[in-house]
């Protein structure tokens, strides 16, 4: 995802001098090509995330589209008040990019697990929060966030769901994408973990359980149409996020459903439950360990359906 983002941004920045990329001293080797072609549109701010967000805001207020880049929680939680007061309150074109969503840096330990970022950033007024599932979504979201006015958070992941776009498909912020049709249950996810949803749905379909799979990339804006259709036309909704279930994608969908009187037949959120990962391991290992991998998703769906059969 990281490389897809940088390639796309370089392509955009070549034709738009307003675009600047600021890093908080991370991304070894990642920016070589970008820096070679666009040295004037790259700044390493140093290990200083508060200043990273604030300098980006200052530049954005002077007409730039300022992308900040760092890993895990550093460009978000470390400088949350700068994002709130400086970027969001001023409607500044600050696009915060974090590589390392969820358990991407699984074996580096809890400090590098980004598992509350979506909920926290989603609560900021004016902040568009996007967690792409695949490389096409990364590229498209980079374009869309560049064109959209205001502050945004792009959460990138080490894993990805490949390329799921269909010929001629158009990407739209706030518009969820149906990756697979089915009516037994709807699996809604965001981020690279959508690959696990697809794997779970493949396994379930062998058992005659056809699940709809939705990539709900824009967490800050629930796609009413997609969720209402899932509630009305399938056996229920299971949300999956490599993140706490508190306030993230599942929370956003649950809030909207209850308030709108759209009641899925069954509803379940998969994610961390009031906990930190206290063991380390690969992203795949931690997904399994914390019951959000393909097997755990399939098991949840079976249990939800079986309980009522």
């Amino acid at each position: 995802m990281r490389d897809a983002f940088i390639r796309q941004l370089a392509g955009l920045a070549k034709d738009d001098a307003r675009i600047v990329l600021l890093t908080g001293d991370l991304g070894f080797g990642v920016f070589d090509e970008y820096r070679r072609i666009l040295p004037e549109q790259f700044i390493n701010v140093g290990v200083a995330e508060q200043n990273l967000a604030a300098v980006a805001t200052g530049m954005a207020l002077e007409g730039h589209i300022a992308f900040t880049y760092s890993i895990a929680n550093f460009p978000t939680l470390r400088c949350l008040e700068q994002l709130r007061n400086d970027a969001c309150y001023h409607g500044a074109n600050v696009k915060t990019v974090a590589i390392g969503g969820g358990f991407s840096y699984g074996n580096l330990g809890f400090s590098h697990h980004a598992t509350e970022d979506l909920a926290i950033l989603r609560s900021l007024p004016g902040m568009t929060v996007v967690a792409p599932a695949d490389l096409w979504e990364v590229e498209q979201a980079t374009i869309a966030l560049t064109l959209a006015s205001g502050s945004a958070y792009l959460r990138l992941d080490k894993s990805n769901a490949g390329r799921t776009d269909r010929p001629g498909e158009r990407f739209e912020l706030g518009k969820a994408r149906c990756l697979r049709e089915g009516d037994a249950m709807t699996l809604v996810g965001c981020g690279g973990i959508v690959a696990e949803l697809l794997a779970a749905s493949t396994a379930l379909s062998r058992e005659g359980i056809d699940c709809r799979v939705i990539s709900h990339h824009t967490i800050s804006q629930v796609d009413h149409e997609a969720i209402a259709s899932a509630a009305a036309g399938t056996g229920g909704i299971v949300t999956v996020e490599e993140h706490t279930v508190t306030g993230g994608l599942g929370g956003a969908i649950a809030e909207w459903c209850l308030e709108s009187g759209v009641l899925p037949r069954r509803f379940r959120r998969i994610g961390l439950r009031d906990e930190f990962a206290t063991v380390v391991g690969s992203q795949d290992y931690l997904r399994e360990r914390y019951a959000m991998g393909a097997d755990a998703i399939a098991k949840t769906v079976r249990a939800m359906l079986g309980a009522e059969r």
Binding site: Q50, A54, G58, E81, Y89
Partner: protein, 276 residues
């Protein structure tokens, strides 16, 4: 081509800023009057003689940017920009009232002439640094002035920006420290020592001058001379008196919080009106 605004009588302007702020905080029941009085002379010189701004065109691209980082003294900036004609002086009386845009801590929304909203300390200088960097890169000639408090220098974010501004040779950035030696609970010296303060800024690569923050001629002479050194950001450390202008408010932490009402308000007003 940059234009210089008409020079105002800065002594009269400082007096009006203080009287407005006293009335505003009294009507609005807001605090920090001591912090406004501390920097009122700096504001008067900036708005009266230094800043290239156009009230008729608040977003004029070549305007100097003024950022109040010590946002709690927002009443002073509202008064200054109103006096400069950005909006009607009568609007000031809504400060702190229900439904007002003029918040206790400075906010730009719906308030022409205010560049940045602050209130949490340690935000103004870092954002100013980004603004100065953008101006440098675009080869624009305007300057960015950031007025901060001394207690605010406890915030680590400022030192991130101080490092950054020197590294990037932002000589279009001017930090002005309202050094009144008092912070929220007690003296700076007893809270978190800043001294040797001048040396700290210098060692971080800034060109530094000190000034009596109530002497208009001295302040103007310094600010007309920025950048103090080419290729370096400038820091003006202004030695000030918190509560300056009202005898019973001077050098008192109490007036960081207290709202002047009734007899106290009248007494303060009399002192300010009687001053030259």
């Amino acid at each position: 081509m940059l234009t210089q605004r008409n020079t105002l009588d800065t002594v009269g302007l400082a007096k009006r800023i203080r009287l407005h702020a006293l009335r505003m905080t009294s009507l609005g029941g807001t605090s920090h009057i001591g912090s406004v009085f501390s920097m009122a002379d700096l504001l008067a010189v900036l708005y009266g003689r230094i800043l290239r701004i156009e009230a008729a065109s608040p977003q004029w691209p070549n305007r100097d940017r003024f950022i109040l980082s010590k946002g709690h003294a927002g009443a002073g900036v509202y008064a200054a920009v109103a006096e400069c004609g950005f909006f009607e002086v009568s609007v000031l009386d809504s400060h702190g009232q229900n439904g007002s845009k003029l918040s206790g801590h400075v906010s730009h929304k719906g308030v022409p002439g205010v560049e940045l909203s602050t209130g949490s300390l340690g935000h103004g200088l870092p954002v100013s640094t980004g603004m100065a960097l953008a101006a440098k890169r675009a080869r624009r000639l305007h300057r960015v002035f950031s007025l901060m408090s001394d207690g605010e220098c406890d915030e680590g974010s400022n030192w991130e920006a101080i490092l950054f501004a020197a590294h990037h040779r932002l000589d279009n950035l001017i930090a002005i420290v309202d050094y009144n030696k008092l912070q929220s609970l007690e003296r700076v010296e007893d809270t978190l020592r800043l001294e040797p303060f001048v040396e700290k800024w210098r060692s971080f690569g800034w060109a530094v001058r000190e000034v009596d923050g109530h002497d208009h001629e001295e302040i103007a002479r310094c600010l007309e001379a920025v950048p103090f050194a080419p290729g370096q950001p400038s820091c003006l450390i202004a030695h000030t008196i918190k509560g300056k202008g009202v005898s019973f408010m001077e050098n008192s932490v109490l007036w960081h919080y207290r709202t002047a009402r009734g007899e106290e308000y009248e007494a303060a007003k009399r002192e300010l009106e009687g001053s030259s």
